[in-house]
């Protein structure tokens, strides 16, 4: 199998497929997901390709399925997801599928149409029912056994005007009744008043129960109204206003007996309609339930067919129209598997001619394909997020798997918090399969789930560093017994607030360090932070320099693999010398300081005389002589240090011009020589012309000519200059950048200590058993803050800083990241993207 250290070797292959077998073969390759097809007709419009009609048919089927799905979701019917993966159906099955979907869609549309018509009918009848009921009230109010309009007339028009109009005959008041949306009533009323100059009389009553709008299915509130008016002109005006306000008018008979009859008729019709509606709904439900069983399966099938035809569209047609030609990128190791799949496809289609897979030579850069598994893929994603590795470049992932959680843990070191993280990730890992099957669209959850192995390792490593820092929720564990003792007598202890313990006395300190990690006595010491800072800063620089050195060393493997000897001599060696002579030397100084200065030594070798590493380093680079402290003999840690340091700095600085100039100058010289040779060759032989031309063509890339040449050299100088400046300045700033390991670790430790003393301690202030209840409450609060602030927020910040250290400080030393990812034709990927697209 392929290794994680470099991307897979890829080959460009030509594939000849018989027309009949092409479909089955591509389907097999899609199941395999190891082949990336290239578009052989990039200049052909999407509508002019060979299998457009098939793709279109698939689109149509997809549309129908989506319609079905929408209807199923509307009814809240659960869709059966068996998780099975049906094979892509044969092309002839497509017709069956199409017919099925067509039938289903038509049936459903018809049912929906009928249901809508029925519902509209139902709505009208209900509205009419309400009108009859409400208007009855209006009429009843004035009912004196008289003719209703007459009574209204009496009510509305004063007696004297009736008297005046006696000659002209009785006044006939007309009326219209209807239903309108409740929110339109005020505007409607005002409009009526203004347009008819107050000559109409409007009564309205609210319908209490909301009605269902048949087209949208929304619940709407409506009101019944009745308008009285006189004369035809007003009547037409009123009708127009009603129309404008989308009020529905219903005929309402004038006579009470007719109204009663009509009401009876409406009631019976409503009842009939109800039964019919129920049957329609049942029918619709049955159709949908039957469809819901298969819909996921159908979706997969259609998506697969469509993907196959899309792929076939990328192929070239042979002149004879008998075979299709495809070009594809294939991992070399999988050629056997692919050939097997192709043979299966041919057998399935019943074709006699086997497909031909031909390797082609190409100068193009192949895609980068890193074979990953569920453990490594998360780490690979972290690296790929920065840039896909160039083809066959060293892949930083295997190193990242260890260094990433480790650097994270240096910043996040706490046994308790690490344990929480570890347990959470452990749960995700153990319940991997059921959780993966759930497929939520909760983005945060998906991020955690995808990174479960990273979190697991981060938690594990944090537990380790927490153990070394001896921090568990900011408290220390005294596992092996502190190696420090107090020997003060009672009176001293009683009269002094702070006391010192002398490490040079065997009675105070055992002279042997605590076996593992930090001595727990430091938790009670006032100078804990001072001590930890010195320790953690040194540790960060040591880790940082080693990390960067390993990055630079990896570039050696790149150069060797690509047979770039020039870069080894002109880039790698000076780079290593620069880094080792300056920064690794500083690391060595730290170890020397740790080893050679101790409290029991002579005064000159005691910690009081130990020089500061930082000052020593600055003086070394500036060639400055520092002054020794009082009573200390020297500022140096070993004899001859001054001379050694001068030598190191001078050599390191000499490396800079080598990095800057050696490579471009060498290339320039080489090109000049070649140029001379070429010119000489032309001059000597007559037929050299043809030969020379041939040679030039054979050697990619052809040596560029005159003016162009100088341009390129100039570019080379600039490029090398940028590269060198970046490296030299980077070494300084990157080394300093690793101090973030110390800074974040300090911040984390302090924050957890603050949280404990500000919250948890407050839970222990009550002097009775009530304290237990109070502690119960305070602990919950503390636990939530611990998870929210320390584990989640601090964890995120430490994660981001670790990511930066890897992307910038580590990968800049060797990683180009100029490749493009291998995107194989795979049903799995297509189906996944399709399902997420649907959910969005």
């Amino acid at each position: 199998m392929g290794s994680l250290f470099r991307s897979e070797e890829m080959a460009l292959c030509q594939l000849f497929l018989q027309s009949e077998a092409a479909y089955a073969c591509v389907s097999e390759l899609g199941e395999l997901g190891l082949v990336q097809f290239r578009d052989l007709n990039p200049d052909v419009n999407a509508f002019q390709r060979k299998f457009v009609s098939e793709v279109r048919r698939c689109d149509e089927m997809e549309r129908k399925l989506r319609y079905l799905e929408k209807e199923i979701k509307k009814d809240g019917i659960p869709m059966l997801d068996t998780g099975e993966n049906p094979e892509a159906p044969q092309p002839r099955e497509m017709i069956d599928l199409e017919a099925t979907f067509e039938k289903l869609e038509n049936e459903l549309r018809e049912v929906n149409h009928n249901a809508e018509a029925l519902k509209r009918n139902f709505l009208e009848l209900t509205e009419l029912k309400h009108i009859l009921r409400k208007t009855q009230v209006f009429f009843d109010e004035q009912e004196g056994g008289l003719h209703p309009t007459e009574s209204m007339t009496r009510a509305l028009i004063s007696d004297d005007s009736i008297a005046r109009q006696v000659n002209a005959g009785p006044v006939q008041l007309g009326f219209v009744a209807g239903v309108i949306l409740r929110e339109r009533i005020p505007a409607f009323e005002r409009m009526l008043w203004r347009a008819c100059r107050g000559n109409v009389f409007l009564r309205q009553a609210e319908i209490e129960t909301p009605l269902e709008d048949p087209s949208t299915g929304d619940q709407v509130h409506k009101s019944v109204f009745i308008i009285f008016f006189q004369g035809d002109q007003l009547k037409s005006r009123v009708r127009k206003i009603c129309e404008g306000f989308r009020a529905t008018l219903y005929p309402c008979p004038e006579a009470p007996s007719q109204r009663r009859e009509m009401a009876m008729g409406v009631m019976t019709r409503i009842e009939d309609l109800n039964t019919v509606l129920g049957q329609t709904q049942d029918h619709r439900h049955r159709v949908l339930v039957a469809a819901a069983k298969n819909i996921k399966n159908w979706f997969i099938k259609v998506v697969k067919i469509k993907a196959i035809y899309h792929t076939l569209n990328l192929f070239n047609l042979d002149v004879t129209q008998k075979c299709l030609i495809a070009e594809c990128w294939v991992p070399l190791l999988d050629i056997e598997t692919i050939q097997l799949a192709l043979r299966r496809g041919t057998e399935r289609s019943g074709s006699s001619v086997p497909p031909i897979l031909n390797r082609m030579d190409t100068f193009e850069d192949p895609p980068t394909y890193n074979r990953t598994n569920k453990f490594t893929s998360a780490f690979q994603n972290l690296v790929d997020a920065y840039g896909i590795a160039s083809y066959r470049e060293i892949n930083p992932t295997p190193y990242t798997i260890i260094s990433f959680p480790f650097l994270f843990a240096v910043m996040f070191g706490d046994l308790g918090h690490g344990c929480l993280m570890f347990l959470f990730a452990g749960f995700l890992v153990l319940r991997e399969k059921p959780l993966a099957a759930k497929k939520t669209d909760n983005e945060v959850w998906n991020i955690f789930f995808a990174g479960r192995y990273i979190i697991l390792l981060m938690g594990l490593f944090s537990m380790y560093t927490g153990f070394i820092y001896n921090d568990i929720f900011s408290k220390s564990l005294n596992l092996f017994g502190s190696h420090w003792h107090t020997n003060y007598n009672v009176s001293t202890v009683m009269s002094n607030k702070d006391l010192q313990i002398n490490p040079s006395l065997s009675s105070d300190y055992d002279q042997v360090p605590y076996p593992v990690g930090l001595d727990p006595v430091w938790q009670l010491a006032l100078n804990k932070i001072v001590f930890l800072n010195a320790y953690k800063m040194k540790i960060s620089i040591i880790i940082g320099v080693l990390h960067m050195l390993s990055g630079v060393s990896l570039s050696l493997y790149n150069y060797r693999y690509f047979k770039d000897r020039l870069s080894i001599y002109c880039d790698f060696i000076p780079q290593v010398i620069f880094l080792v002579f300056l920064f690794f030397y500083m690391v060595l100084l730290m170890f020397i300081k740790w080893v050679s200065y101790g409290p029991q030594n002579e005064f000159a070798d005691s910690p009081a005389c130990a020089p500061s590493i930082l000052i020593t380093f600055i003086n070394m680079v500036l060639f400055k002589d520092a002054v020794a402290l009082e009573n200390c003999n020297t500022v140096y840690m070993f004899s001859g240090q001054g001379a050694v340091q001068k030598f190191l700095v001078i050599v390191a600085l000499l490396c800079v011009p080598i990095m800057l100039l050696a490579k471009p100058i060498y290339i320039m010289r080489q090109q000049k020589e070649k140029h001379v040779q070429l010119v000489n060759g032309h001059a000597t032989t007559e037929n050299g012309d043809a030969e020379g031309a041939g040679r030039v063509v054979q050697q990619p890339p052809p040596p560029p000519a005159g003016g162009h040449d100088e341009n390129e050299i100039g570019e080379l100088f600039i490029h090398q200059g940028i590269h060198t400046i970046e490296y030299v300045l980077g070494s300084v700033s990157h080394t300093a950048s690793y101090l973030r390991l110390w800074a974040l670790s300090l911040a984390h430790a302090q924050l957890s200590e603050v949280l404990w003393s500000m919250v948890m301690t407050k839970g222990l202030i009550l002097n009775s058993w009530i304290g237990g209840v109070w502690l119960w409450f305070v602990f919950g609060f503390w636990a939530i803050l611990t998870v929210g602030i320390l584990v989640l927020m601090e964890g995120l910040s430490a994660f981001l800083h670790t990511l930066r250290l890897h992307w910038v400080e580590f990968q800049s030393k060797f990683y180009k990241g100029l490749g493009y990812a291998f995107a194989p034709f795979s049903f799995e990927v297509i189906l996944n993207t399709a399902s997420t697209a649907v959910e969005e």
């Binding site: 009670l524 948890m760 301690t761 222990l764 009550l766 304290g771 237990g772 209840v773 636990a783």
Partner: protein
Amino acid sequence: MKFCGPKLSLCGIIISIWGIIQLVMMGFFYYIRSVALIEDLNISEEHKFTDPQDFYSTADKMYSLNAYNCWIAACLYIFTLVVSGHQFYMNNRNTMSL
């Protein structure tokens, strides 16, 4: 009877388990007079002790008190665990039947 949602009950279960483990252990450490936890004793900094015996007896008293308080809280968390476990079960059963 159901009065918490599925998330709250799950949260309750997790905090309860955590609380039981940590509080029992803290109680144990107070009981064995762990020096690391001395800062959490309810003895004010200004308090002046006349003789060591006085200090020892006060500290001893506070240590036991804190130990018992931790254990009381742990017991309350057992109760919380039972309640939220019951709620979680009720919630899950409801979703099962749906």
